[in-house]
Amino acid sequence: MPMDDSRYWPQGTTRCKPIPFLIWMAFCLLLGGWAVHSATLCLWKGLNQTAMNDFFAFGVWIVVDLAIIALGAGAFFTGFMTYVLRRDELKNIINAAVIIGFICYSGAILMLGIDIGQPIRGWFGFWHANVHSMLTEVMFCITTYLIVLIIEFVPLVLENRQINKVPDLAFFAHHLHRIMIVFAATGTFLSFFHQGSLGGMFGVLYARPFAYRTGVAIWPWTFFLFILSAIASGPSFTTLMVMLTEKVSGRKLTTHKVKMMMGKVSGYLLTFYLILKGADTLYWANVTLPKMGVSFWDMYQSSYGIYLVWLELGLFGAVPAFLLLHRRVRESYGLLALAMILNCLGAVTNRFVFTIQPLAIPVLPFEKWQFYWPTIPEWGISFGVIAYGLIIFSLAYRYLPVFPQEVELNK
């Protein structure tokens, strides 16, 4: 058969026929085409194609950036648990975590390339680096961590059934695997810091009451809270993607025990995060804000009301934490997925709130609340990044031995 690609599939597995796969790819590419069109508009005509303005210096792209970087934290944290803490059962999901991490970080960098007003000068952040800026640290760490992720992804690509037949490449892949602990540790270090710096980016804005947080030394509390929320939601997102792939492919990819472990890790970390986040919110509301002459309630008005707190810390915070802490919930495939979805939505809401809300609030008493809703090109690029992720993950699943347990579980 001319379109038969089965010889590229991982050994001992089956995949859907080429036609449905191609239709799926065509759909993703269509979304990608929308993104390319949107990116062309923004690069050609400028950022006036967006709904951003001098109030909303950041828009949906930064929200998506922060969200996918948080959700992509499953890569470094699972890597840390697998290679550094030696939780061997997580080797069954680490490949998926690395691929998702790669997608999230490369997607975020692609997006930032369009988001900045002068993309050709993007490298100035490295050349004229301001060491006081949290954003400088973010730029250095996400680019270096992307390199680490590529190094972690390469051996998996080389393990493709046909590529692996080339002795030199097989040898290279094998030995790269053996030193992976070095990269896992490096990735953990880099990722820890830039997840923190992304939070620090907002916490240091001392003239923006909604974002500003006190802290320790040069690090505002948001620095630590962003790390915690990322490592609480990242493993959930990785597991969700595996579950989604299982549902779409109709095949079992990891044992439920692995998923339960990821859920347990998420649950404990989320609970720890919520305790600290609660303390932070109380201190901010009762000490930090009054010193600036504003009250907690002043911060939640107009379209950005108090419902955001209930959503972020209640429905998407306390509820998934409660669910994930219970073994019986984790034992149920559906409930585990539900809790993980809520957990991920909590991280996304947190990133949305920190990106958009500080800018919507009028700090000068004679200014008014503003409202932001993205334009079609902004949505186009946001969905384009998701489509990019779907394409990479679909190709990886089809052609690479991502899940070591797949053959065994589907006998």
């Binding site: 303005n53 240091v204 002459g293 700090v363 008493p365």
Partner: protein, 265 residues
């Protein structure tokens, strides 16, 4: 404590004092600023969230119905913050590419448009909206580009710009003082907005120099205040007013908080 002592060491500390009770809201300061600093006019200037204004004029009122309505105007340039209690200038400390800097000699916050990458983090950091993004290519129709000042670089699309306290005038004044062998004279370094104000509401000068009008006025008016002082931005644009309701609009207060005693005007 003298007002200039609020700021760190440095030969000069240039600042501005605006008497809100003298400001008529005529807008001459904003027009002079645009002409002086090559600020273009966008196709749609009704979109004030995207228009570029280094000196923006805010109209405020006391919220009362006629005939008790009162109106005032807040002219707002860049406030050239220095920061206090361990903080840096809000915008300077966040810029990843060092495209904005704090000049220790003058206390002026600079902006380097050719180095700006357009990340807009500084815009998010500034609570005064003193920073504008070039969302559009600024049109210079029909020979208007021939009227551009050669002393100020026009900015390109995608970068951030803001008031520089007419820093090019400082450079010229410094050159003149060097040639003449003396110090910078007060009249030699004045911002365009100061010179354009018909009612003399804006006073500009070196707060470190006891002979400068601004230093004398600040000494005579201890009730001079700044916008959003409670945030600790420690900026260099002071305001005067005798009206309590105007004074209260300069900062945020909790409902139970009383306005600090005002001895201004």
């Amino acid at each position: 404590m003298a007002f200039a002592d609020k700021f760190g060491a440095g030969k000069h500390r240039f600042g501005m004092l605006i008497d809100l009770d003298k400001c008529t809201g005529c807008g001459a300061c904003t027009v002079a600023c645009m002409a002086e600093n090559n600020i273009g006019v966008n196709y749609d200037e009704t979109d004030k969230l995207r228009s570029i204004a280094w000196m923006r004029l805010y109209q405020v009122d006391n919220g009362k119905a006629f005939p008790e309505t009162e109106v005032a105007f807040f002219p707002r340039p860049c406030l050239h913050c220095e920061g206090e209690h361990g903080h840096h200038t809000p915008c300077v400390s966040v810029c990843p590419a060092t495209a904005t800097d704090y000049d220790e000699e003058t206390g002026i916050v600079s902006q380097i448009p050719t180095r700006c990458i357009g990340c807009r983090y500084c815009v998010a950091a500034c609570p005064y909206h003193a920073r504008s993004v070039n969302w559009f290519d600024v049109p210079w129709p029909g020979g208007m580009d021939r009227g551009l000042s050669p002393l100020v670089s026009p900015r390109m699309r995608g970068v951030v710009e803001k008031c520089t306290f007419c820093f090019h005038r400082y450079q010229q004044a410094k050159n003149k003082a060097f040639i003449d062998g003396g110090e910078i004279a007060e009249k030699d370094y004045q911002t365009a907005c100061t010179q354009a104000c018909p009612s003399g509401a804006i006073v500009f000068g070196d707060m470190r120099n006891p002979e400068h009008t601004i230093t004398k006025l600040l000494a005579a008016n201890p009730g001079a205040f700044r916008l959003l002082e409670r945030l600790g931005t420690n900026n260099k644009v002071f305001y005067l007013t005798k009206r309590d309701w105007v004074r209260r609009l300069a900062d945020n207060y909790l409902a139970h908080e009383k306005l600090p005693e005002v001895k201004a005007g």
